[in-house]
């Protein structure tokens, strides 16, 4: 059981700056995020897209913003729990007990939800029966590529993940690559390589097709794919892989007794506290009259929520407002003074 002054859920820009604010005022914190990397939507959805409305930063990409925020956290020691999703939140006397899907447990008076639009999950195939084969012969990510050796693998998608795996697995497996249109959005070199392999029949390419159904009882036998013109083809397949990017799902947050409206959590604008004492929501996931879904709003919300955490984490101390330009305390925490 990890004891901490505050637990932040979400390692996007808002979660990162909130961590900064907590550490600056002398509280410790840990961060959990379902993605395998830090940065949230900035890193997952638009790492290369420029952002123009961060105060005092005329232009930066999602990746640059993330790296700058990580740099800003350098003076502090913050533990990140990546590829973990918070499943359970329960009240135990004064503290919240938190459990992740990997079994990590926390005890804290403060939980700050900086969860964006929820946790990122792979986008799945639409035919219902796909669920029956999921994680057996149908996957949305690859953990052990050796299982595909000598097998027939049908890969769906038009981005780098689909192309990279089609190329990689074509060395030892029979590959069908299926995409809904002629164009691929992967890197040009990867697309060229794939086309080369398709020409030499190392990859069977099917464009303008989508998955219609998967067939088999216990074991996957074949799949049906449908062309834009409704023509259906049956492909023998031992495995099916889908690479359609990630979607955002609110997930377990919906079960924690919070006031949720249209996938956002209602908060007050003094502490950014939810209807549950000691649970705050900041960034895109919170809502209040006048809410703007901007990164700069998330920074403000996180700064205020961090101050609210102080009261519950240090009930016998009084929080004193200080500036980083002048406060010896703050400069010590920032490593700028002995």
């Amino acid at each position: 059981m990890i004891k901490t002054d505050a637990l932040i859920i979400g390692a996007g820009p808002t979660g990162l700056f909130t961590a900064h604010q907590l550490k600056l005022i002398g509280l410790n914190c840990e961060v959990v995020d379902n993605l395998d990397k830090i940065g949230g939507q900035c890193i997952e959805l638009y790492p290369d897209k420029p952002i123009y409305d961060i105060p005092a930063v005329p232009e930066c990409t999602g990746e640059e913003l993330t790296n700058n925020l990580i740099n800003q956290l350098k003076p502090f020691d913050i533990k990140f729990h990546l590829s973990e999703r918070v499943e359970e939140v329960k009240k135990n006397n004064e503290n919240w007990q938190i459990k992740t899907n990997k079994g990590t447990e926390f005890s804290t008076p403060n939980i700050i939800i900086a969860g964006g639009v929820g946790s990122f999950e792979p986008r799945k195939f639409s035919p219902k029966e796909c669920e029956n084969f999921e994680n057996k012969s149908l996957f949305y990510s690859i953990k052990d590529k050796s299982i595909f050796k000598g097998k027939t693998v049908s890969i769906f998608g038009g981005g780098d993940s689909a192309l990279d795996w089609a190329i990689e697995l074509s060395k030892d497996s029979k590959i069908n690559l299926i995409h809904r249109r002629d164009e691929f959005r992967g890197a040009q070199a990867t697309v060229d390589k794939m086309n080369e392999l398709a020409k030499s029949s190392k990859i069977n390419l099917f464009t303008k097709y989508q998955l219609k159904s998967v067939n088999g009882k216990e074991i996957l036998e074949s799949i049906d794919i449908e062309h834009d013109n409704k023509e259906i083809k049956n492909l023998k397949s031992d495995y099916v892989l889908g690479f359609f990017g990630l979607i955002m799902q609110l997930g377990p947050i919906a079960n924690w007794g919070l006031n949720i409206d249209k996938k956002t959590i209602s908060v007050d604008t003094e502490k950014f506290e939810t209807n549950q004492k000691g649970i705050y929501a900041v960034g895109d996931i919170c809502t209040y009259p006048g809410k703007l879904k901007l990164i700069l709003s998330g920074f403000h919300e996180g700064a205020l929520a961090a101050r609210a955490c102080f009261k519950l984490a240090r009930p016998n101390e009084k929080y004193r407002f200080e500036f980083t330009t002048t406060s010896t305390n703050l400069l010590k925490r920032l490593g700028k003074k002995e």
Binding site: Q41, L45, Y46, K49, V117, R123, S126, G157, G158, G159, H179, R180, R181, E183, R185, Q210, D228, F244, G245, I247, M248, Q249, K263, D284, K293
Partner: protein, 106 residues
């Protein structure tokens, strides 16, 4: 004000007036039309405001910009007449537009 008709997957139809300059997505969200999630808020990063545009309208709309087709790869059951409604700006030219909503967005 231009009228936009949103038809849910179950056939329920909503015709509403949407102010010029808003997107077809914003028209739906502001009027609580179920079936358009718009998780990313209109930054063309999520494909959860996906709609099907009736044929007679599809060719009248401004062409897709770079990135929209890529994003549609990730939509739920994209078709040749798919668009992201966050990229469709409301104006007098599209008064009467009819869009069909997919079974779900994710």
């Amino acid at each position: 004000m231009p009228k936009i008709t949103y038809i849910e997957h179950n056939g329920k139809s909503h015709t509403i007036e949407v102010a010029n300059g808003l997107s077809v997505m914003e028209g739906a969200v502001q009027n609580n039309i179920p079936g358009i999630d718009a998780d990313c808020g209109g930054s063309m990063a999520c494909a959860t405001c996906h709609v099907y545009v009736k044929e007679e309208w599809f060719n009248k709309l401004p062409k897709k910009e770079d990135g929209e087709e890529d994003m549609l790869d990730m939509a739920f059951e994209p078709k040749t007449n798919s668009r992201l409604s966050c990229q469709l700006m409301v104006s007098e030219q599209i008064d009467g537009l009819v869009v069909n909503l997919p079974e779900k967005q994710v």
